[in-house]
């Protein structure tokens, strides 16, 4: 299987010499093409820092991150922007849709800034929207949509450029359970039929249970890793809960 993401011994420190916080402490793992990986951990475990480093929003203190064979810790300035635009797709907890633009335009923007010509845009957007079940909101503005619809529009925006890797940061964080479920079904669909490689950060066990693999992080280190394989989602969910209880004191927080 082709390797999309490889993380080698990354460290991230915050603060000064006198009061040093290790947000990430020698983390290494890799993600193959077509995988759907969830990273779980309590608040302050370092999972968001990890995602920020992968998404080039933040810089690592040491170590290397390879995406599609390219070492992104070596990129600078506009190369970073280009890389983010060309190779990554983003889904954020608070959607990050532009409030002045319709769903259609929000999705189209991802293609526009990549310099894709207008020719194929329309059919591509319609096709993607159709597969995510948002074709009826395409001409609506974010304030006219439900949270779940907004997040699926964001998902459409993330995958329309066919990125190597889709990064999702607490995608269900602002959604009710029904919307969460619909969104996660969409993720599953994206992962299986396109197929999109998805790396998702969450602290919700139900959300994580949709992934094929879950990596647990505690205090900046990888704590455990479980693979779904042929288990049913229900079994996998219980397995995740078991690990969370192992994680210790802040288990209730993790739920």
């Amino acid at each position: 299987m082709e390797e999309i993401l490889r993380i080698e011994n990354i460290e991230k420190y915050y603060g000064s010499r006198s009061s040093l916080t290790k947000a990430l402490d020698l983390v290494s793992f890799s993600v193959d093409k077509g995988e759907f990986v969830a990273i779980m951990g309590a608040s302050g475990s370092g999972k968001t820092t990890l995602l920020n480093c992968i998404s080039t929003i933040d810089k690592v203190t040491s170590g290397h991150i390879f995406i599609g064979g390219e070492d992104i810790t070596k990129l600078k300035g506009n190369d970073l922007n280009r890389f983010r635009r060309e190779e990554l797709g983003f889904i954020f907890q608070d959607f990050n849709l532009l409030d002045t633009m319709t769903a259609y335009e929000n999705i189209a923007l991802a293609l526009s800034i990549k310099g894709v010509g207008v020719a194929g845009i329309d059919s591509k957007i319609k096709e993607t929207a159709n597969s995510l079940g948002i074709e009826e909101v395409l001409n609506k503005y974010p304030y006219q949509m439900s949270g779940g619809q907004k997040q699926r529009v964001a998902a459409a925006r993330a995958i329309i450029t066919e990125p190597k890797l889709v990064l999702a940061d607490e995608p269900t964080g602002a959604l009710d359970s029904r919307s969460s479920k619909m969104l996660l079904e969409s993720f599953k669909f994206m992962n299986e039929s396109i197929p999109a490689t998805i790396l998702m950060v969450t602290h919700d066990a139900f959300t994580a249970s949709y992934a094929k693999r879950v990596i647990f992080i505690k205090d900046g280190k990888i704590f455990n890793e479980i693979i779904r394989a042929d288990k049913s989602r229900k079994e996998f969910f219980n397995e995740i809960l078991d690990v969370i209880s192992l994680l210790g004191g802040d288990a209730s927080d993790a739920l």
């Binding site: 922007n81 635009r85 532009l98 409030d99 207008v118």
Partner: protein, 674 residues
């Protein structure tokens, strides 16, 4: 402690304050410079008549200052309100921390005070420096001697500036205190949460309104440029045209801002290119709320352009006219129909010293014997009647004989005429009368004077003056062959002459002698004006009056124009920056999805540029017609094209307006960088 907090606040919100500060400083500079003008001019070495004009100018500018103060005051209050709105969240935090509203007001007061004092000092220092250049400009304009440079500081103007801006700051403080007092914590903390309502306007309604507005605007343009008469100002037409222009401008902005999205979204190739869709959405989401301010700004810019353009060409024409129209030092006229004596007889009978005058020439005006302008011009008089109220169909023509005219023309610098025994010619200078008379002449219209049938010798008027004046004032003199006037009554006799003098002092001496002689003997106040029969004009008097009109017009319009320009640019800047809070979030999203910094900057530039560009575009179109109208109204003064004045106006406007645009762009760039 509070002082420290206030100082830190200012430092922290330097990007918000920069436009406010810039506006205050320019306000102080302008206010000081124009109020210091009388002190600056007092230093200049000028003649008495020029001095009088300068005093008049200062009085005028002092009056205009009141108006300027009101505009500036409104602007400062508007700007400080904007700053308060921007900082709602910050105040909310203070309140949650348990700070009392009174202490918050004190902080705000201290901030206003610090900003006020700094801007006052900077403004005054710059104002004092720049006013030295103003002295040079004034000296230049009044052709005064500037060989020795004196540094002038006007304490009066400085005190006036400090008092005015002091009052302004106190008012701002009161407004701020009221604003803080009315704050509710919940509103302050959630100030950023806004209800997004995107109104998309009905495209058919927009198109209809757009077309109607264009037609109304076209009609207004037509009224001011074609149907315009000199008595235009006295009629309600002007108000009607102003209302037509303003309302249609508003609706054009309204319909364009409401439908631009509708149109451009259909140009898919353009719309979905780079950040175009984003920029356009940004524009139209704000355009809805900005229609009113864009209209106000557009009209202010229009006024500025017309004021500056007209004033500058007026001044230039005035200066040029002095050379063109004042070929002799003095002209004296005797109303022979009252005195029954010509000028020379009157003068010598009263003991006038003729040795003071040389190169004397003159002419007689003969009785028209009922020949009126209506008869000479026929139906072509109509346009002239619309233009000038002092002309009617019954206005009697002035008649001069050919040989006397040619003799006079030699000394006065007019062209020699050649006409046959059965012909006539017309000498005229007033442009619109020349045009009307030319139409009549072109038809070969014959006139009947004292029983002689006369045909036109030329198909056009001969351009020329018969009086000393800095303006074109000759509405027409009929030149007829000598034999025609034999035995006709002379109603007016006039002489022109030069002084026997070489130095300005000698000229001044003769000037005073003539003035004293004529005014004490022939223009006594106990004699009714209708019985006066000896009049005089001199080059010196015309010159200073003319320069005076030009200077007053220039300074007043420069003063008002620059203030308008600052006000309109500042309104646009503040409006644009007040959106920056929303913009931070939007541009952050763009960055997160991987947009190039260059692309973001270009989008921001376009966005800011559009708001500055649209009002300016319409202001320029309005001004094109406005300047046309103004040059028509002021036709008797403006002899020159408007080319250079438009250039100078453009430089001033690009300097100030462009400065605001760049500051706004840089500031919002800094804001969206977070």
């Amino acid at each position: 402690m509070l002082f420290k907090l206030a100082l830190k606040n200012i430092k922290k919100s330097v990007k918000d304050y920069s436009i406010y500060f810039f506006t205050l400083v320019i306000g102080v500079i302008i206010f000081y410079i124009f109020n210091a003008l009388d002190t600056q001019t007092a230093m200049l070495d000028v003649s008495n008549s020029t001095r009088e004009i300068m005093v008049l100018m200062s009085t005028f500018l002092a009056g205009v200052s009141v108006f300027v103060a009101i505009v500036l005051g409104a602007l400062i209050i508007y700007a400080s309100n904007f700053l308060i709105k921007r900082r709602k969240k910050e105040f909310g935090v203070y309140l949650t921390l348990g700070m009392s509203k009174r202490r918050m007001s004190t902080i705000l007061l201290t901030e206003t005070l610090i900003i006020g004092i700094i801007s006052m000092i900077v403004g005054l220092v710059l104002g004092i420096i720049l006013s030295q250049f103003m002295s040079v400009a004034v000296a230049n304009m009044f052709e005064a001697d500037m060989s020795r440079f004196t540094f002038v500081f006007s304490a009066k103007a400085a005190v006036k500036t400090i008092i005015f801006f002091g009052i302004m700051y106190v008012i701002v403080m009161i407004f701020n205190t009221i604003a803080v007092g009315r704050c509710k914590l919940i509103d302050l903390l959630y100030a950023e949460k806004k209800n997004e309502q995107l109104k998309v306007r009905n495209p058919i309604l927009c198109l209809t309104l757009f077309i109607i507005s264009c037609v109304v605007l076209g009609r207004a343009y037509y009224l001011v440029t074609v149907e315009l008469g000199a008595d235009f100002f006295s009629r309600t037409d002007l108000i009607k045209v102003i209302i037509m222009g303003s309302v249609s401008t508003f609706f054009i902005f309204w319909s364009v801002s409401g439908s631009i999205l509708y149109i451009v979204t259909r140009m898919k190739g353009y719309y979905f290119k780079k950040l175009n869709s984003f920029t356009l959405r940004q524009f139209s989401s704000k355009a809805n709320t900005m229609v009113m301010s864009m209209t106000v700004v557009c009209l202010m810019l229009f006024l500025t352009i017309v004021l500056l353009g007209t004033a500058i060409s007026l001044t230039r024409s005035m200066n040029k006219n002095i050379k063109d129209f004042l070929p002799k030092d003095i002209q004296i006229v005797s109303k022979v129909n009252i005195s029954e004596k010509d000028v020379k007889t009157v003068l010598s009978e009263n003991g006038f010293d003729m040795s003071k005058l040389k190169d004397v020439a003159g002419y007689n005006i003969y009785d028209s014997e009922g020949l009126t302008m209506g008869e000479v011009m026929g139906e072509y008089i109509q346009s002239t009647l619309n233009m000038y109220t002092f002309v009617s169909e019954d206005t009697e023509e002035q008649i001069m004989s050919l040989s006397e005219y040619n003799e006079f023309a030699k000394t006065f610098g007019n062209e020699q005429l050649a006409i046959e025994d059965d012909q006539y010619a017309i000498v005229c200078s007033l442009d619109s009368v020349v045009r009307a008379r030319n139409e009549a002449l072109a038809t070969g219209r014959t006139i009947n004077y004292r029983g002689f049938e006369l045909k036109p010798a030329y198909s056009e008027c001969q351009i020329g003056e018969i009086q000393l004046s800095t303006n074109k004032i000759n509405e027409g003199v009929i030149i007829v062959p000598d034999h025609v006037v034999e035995g006709a009554k002379i109603i007016e006799n006039s002489i022109v002459a030069d002084y026997v003098a070489d130095t300005p002092e000698e000229i001044n001496e003769i000037e005073l002698y003539v003035k004293d002689f004529i005014e004490s003997k022939f223009q006594r106040e106990d004699v009714p004006f209708d019985d006066w029969y000896l009049f005089y004009t001199t080059k010196e008097v015309s010159k200073s009056a003319s320069i005076g009109i030009g200077a007053i017009a220039t300074f007043v319009s420069l003063y008002v124009g620059v203030i308008f320009l600052i006000a309109s640019a500042a309104i646009l800047s503040l409006k644009e920056l007040s959106e920056s809070a929303d913009n931070i979030e939007r541009f952050a999203v763009l960055r997160r999805i991987g947009t190039d910094e260059k692309m973001i900057e270009a989008a921001l530039f376009k966005q800011v540029g559009m708001f500055f560009f649209f009002p300016m575009l319409f202001a320029i179109i309005h001004s094109f017609f406005g300047l046309k109208a103004s040059s028509k109204i002021l036709e008797i003064f403006i002899s020159d094209g408007m080319g250079l004045s438009i250039f100078v106006t453009a430089v001033i406007i690009v300097g100030i307006y462009g400065g605001y645009f760049i500051i706004t762009y840089i500031t919002s760039k800094r804001i969206i960088k977070g």
